[in-house]
Subunit: 198 residues, 2 copies
Amino acid sequence: MKILVASTNRGKIREIADILSSADVTIFTPDQIVITVDVQEDGATFEENALKKAAAYRDVAEMSALADDSGLCVDALDGAPGVMSARFAGPNASDADNIERLLKAMHKMQNRKARFVCVVALALTSGELITAQGDYPGLITEAPMGSGGFGYDPVFYDPTTGKTFAELCQEEKNRVSHRKRALIALREKLQNQGYIKP
Amino acid sequence: MKILVASTNRGKIREIADILSSADVTIFTPDQIVITVDVQEDGATFEENALKKAAAYRDVAEMSALADDSGLCVDALDGAPGVMSARFAGPNASDADNIERLLKAMHKMQNRKARFVCVVALALTSGELITAQGDYPGLITEAPMGSGGFGYDPVFYDPTTGKTFAELCQEEKNRVSHRKRALIALREKLQNQGYIKP
């Protein structure tokens, strides 16, 4: 049995551990627990999901918290899979399942335009909420190419490098990251609003 | 500005830190945050306060949690100061203030019997709540004696050692701890109910 001691008083913790620790009981202290907040990412938009997660962490940690949500938006599919990106082919879909469903949905479609989208949300302790979005445009291939990355990377073709995201090395991918773009946009907002110095 | 990143993904955390860290911004990760749960100890009994605190920590940490509440109960004052022990002389009362108020309230009283009481509460993840109480009897002196301990220790006379708790060394005090008695009672309950081996 694992027991968390609801105290930061060292003397009290030692007294409790002395008496209760045994082969059956392991005593944990608050500084050994990593905060995990279960948030259902069931929002209608990336922004909604990111805000929900950031606010939940802020409330538990009593500290300004940053969260993100991201996915793939395909023009010809009216922005789908969007917030459903991770579960496009079902609740426990693998990357391969999701890719298969996407390629079927886009079979013989001419317009292959798509974007990776990331929204970052900052929930401040003051209650204020700040969000920023980053997009990276590309094209959906007819078949997967490359073995790197994850998610839809093997079918996301980047015209700038002439490769799918699964064919890019981590460093190249970081350079074109939609999350990076969102974070840079957030940094600018924080600077403009005087939260941080330019 | 301190910002908690609502993620345990190392790559994501690094990307965020790279872009947002600055002289103004310090990035924290969930494993750097010590859980602190603000619980109003406003219950009518030690048990109520201990249960409230244990349940709050259990809910945040999603782990069985143990909390305690304790105080001094004086027979001639119908158990007061009891749950008000820490704020007997007011919301921000010092130990000296509380002792002064106690000695005034007991001025010329013959019956000096009192008990230090501790209730420990274990809130299990199953939802079950287990509590146990430990008492240590003594007598309230006419004036403070000794400089050790804290709270009401200088006016709590222990007939077994012939000293006030403020005159005992830490080791002697641990031996007669009301919290220790509560923990031993809890351990017995856990053994009897099959949660841990005898």
